[in-house]
């Protein structure tokens, strides 16, 4: 099902002309309306009139996550604040959030991107879409919600969690499409079986899964457990949220909505653009965004681009399932977490020397489990078990409120955490994704 053949099946030359016109307009807007970008362009020695072809994008400066953090909350606004209709944000490296502010038009583009995404998974107005991504500042919930409304489906805004109710609603309302993290889809299937409900007996037939890394192996597991088609979707708060790229029925790479978002792959070291098919860091330029448009935003996600006409009929570029990241960001139960955030939080807890280790695993529940090992230094040690237990509980509570994830703190003896020369090893990821 192709939602918007005009743009999704556009000819290559016609698309390039559209992209170039939009890119020129974007650079002019940023130069004239966003002082941050005027300064950035000036110091890079480029002027909007220097953008004559799409290849000229390589002359333009990058935007990085720190730029967004430093301009928090509204420093990158390219329109009057009165035009902003909605704001979303996700965590930054030091806890300063990264903001995406949407005008009415931006929301419509978001709906469009998610409508294409859901259509790629075969959803139509005859479907019932259960949104089990979190609603709120996180873009997953509302993004999927808007898209499902746009295709005219019946939307069930469940948000995340409350598993028994998810299953009850799924059964009683005959949910046909679910949108959630892939690990939650596996967890739901287990819980269904546990409660005596055969996942395959339900009407569910497709799922749009994203917000965390997963694999072909997980796809097979999800498809087998539910008897559905599982689709990989891609998005990030900075660019718009979900709806940036999505899989079609070929399940062979995610189609980028290129009329809205211009993708590039660069060498993360040199910043040089890489040719199609070569693995590198994914960079996006928002071509039509009004609220917080971004120029060459470095996603830190590693993938490669392929082009050509897909068997589904779409002509948009495809990005391969993500290979990893070029930074140390962790995605835990769909939440972005930087080890530095954990470190900052530990320093704030009085007397805690931040010697810690994050151990990630997926247990039988299929959900991410996080153990935070904290060394008990002399200053923290009292003679009583209860004060150590209360220290542990305090760390868990602070992490929950600061990072938004439930982790398990394990107090360990000093020097049990491996010291390496130079940068300490802070993360052990045992998740078999």
């Amino acid at each position: 099902m192709i939602w918007n053949p005009q743009y999704e099946c556009q000819g290559a030359e016609e698309r390039r002309l559209l992209q170039l016109a939009r890119l020129k307009n974007l650079v002019e807007t940023l130069y004239s309306r966003v002082p941050f970008y005027k300064a950035k362009l000036d110091s890079a020695g480029v002027h909007p009139r220097d953008v004559k072809s799409l290849a000229d994008i390589a002359k333009l400066p990058f935007t990085v996550k720190d730029d967004l953090r430093e301009t928090y909350p509204y420093g990158l606004l390219a329109c009057p604040q009165a035009e902003i209709e909605e704001v979303h944000m996700s965590s930054g490296t030091t806890g300063v959030p990264v903001v995406d502010a949407y005008t009415r038009f931006d929301i419509e583009c978001w709906e469009e991107g998610m409508a294409r995404t859901l259509s790629g998974a075969g959803a139509t107005r005859h479907d019932t879409v259960q949104v089990a991504y979190g609603y709120g500042l996180f873009t997953g919930g509302l993004g999927a919600h808007y898209g499902a409304k746009r295709v005219g489906a019946t939307v069930i805004p469940m948000s995340s969690g409350n598993t028994p109710k998810q299953l009850m609603v799924m059964r009683d309302f005959g949910t046909t499409v679910i949108a959630c993290t892939p690990s939650y889809a596996l967890f739901l299937a287990e819980e269904a079986k546990e409660s005596g409900l055969d996942p395959k007996s339900l009407k569910l037939r497709a799922g749009c899964f994203g917000a965390e890394p997963w694999s072909e192996n997980m796809r097979k597991q999800i498809e087998a457990a539910w008897g559905i088609d599982a689709y990989d979707i891609y998005g990030l708060t900075e660019i718009t949220g979900p709806g940036v790229a999505f899989e079609c029925e070929c399940k062979d790479g995610m189609h980028v909505s290129e009329d809205l978002f211009y993708p590039e792959i660069i060498d993360p070291e040199s910043g040089r653009p890489l040719p199609d098919g070569e693995k590198g860091e994914l960079v996006f330029t928002t071509l039509v965004k009004e609220g917080t448009p971004l120029l060459r935003y470095r996603t830190r996600d590693v993938t490669f681009i392929t082009r050509g006409t897909c068997a589904c009929g779409r002509t948009t570029a495809k990005i391969h399932r993500l290979f990893g990241r070029t930074d140390d960001m962790l995605i835990i139960r769909g939440v972005n977490v930087f080890p530095s955030q954990i470190e900052h939080a530990l320093i704030e807890i009085e007397g805690t020397d931040p010697n810690y280790l994050i151990v990630l695993d997926r247990g039988e529940s299929h959900l991410d489990e996080v153990e935070l090992q904290v060394e008990v230094k002399k200053e923290l040690f009292t003679d009583e078990t209860r004060s150590l237990e209360s220290l542990r509980n305090k760390i868990e509570a602070v992490m929950k409120s600061k990072l938004g994830i439930q982790l398990k703190v394990k107090l360990v003896e000093p020097k049990t955490i491996e010291r390496s020369i130079g940068k300490a090893k802070r993360v052990i990821d045992r998740r078999k994704i």
């Binding site: 008990v376 230094k377 040690f381 003679d383 150590l388 394990k410 003896e413 000093p414």
Partner: protein, 138 residues
């Protein structure tokens, strides 16, 4: 009267106690009494030794987190009712006990009970007033 106790933080894993005792023996220190408080994930080993400072140094060198705590050591006759008598006195005088453990010697007619009390000064005062036999060293 008051006596120094060494507390050692231990993870619940194989070989940690062996490591503690190895370090203490390496320092030529003699263990006189001990007890372990354990939770599901960690434990606290409490030790009374003949040379606390040397033991603490050896343990710190071996990478253990330790803490010195003053405790009250009281010698009681090794016969029925002696501990009950002490407990009765502490109860009546408001000496709150956080934990206690005993050290017994086979060829001796007395036992030493180590009390960690909430208010050590009060504990010492009450013990003295009631002529309990406090111990300076073990």
């Amino acid at each position: 009267m008051r006596i120094q106790q060494i507390s050692v933080f231990l993870e619940n894993k194989t070989g940690r106690l062996a490591e503690v005792t190895r370090l203490i023996s390496g320092a030529g220190v003699n263990i006189r009494a001990l007890s372990i408080a354990d939770t599901a994930e960690f434990g606290i080993l409490r030790l009374i030794v003949d040379r606390p400072a040397d033991a603490a140094e050896a343990l710190a060198k071996g990478g253990f987190t330790t803490r010195m705590t003053d405790v009250l050591a009281i010698e009681i006759p090794d016969q029925p009712g002696s501990l009950a008598k002490v407990m009765e006195i502490f109860k009546d005088t408001g000496v709150n006990i956080e934990y206690l453990y005993a050290s017994l010697e086979k060829d001796c007619a007395t036992a030493v009970v180590i009390f960690k009390v909430e208010d050590l000064e009060l504990g010492i005062k009450i013990a003295t007033q009631h002529k309990l036999s406090t111990v300076e060293c073990l």
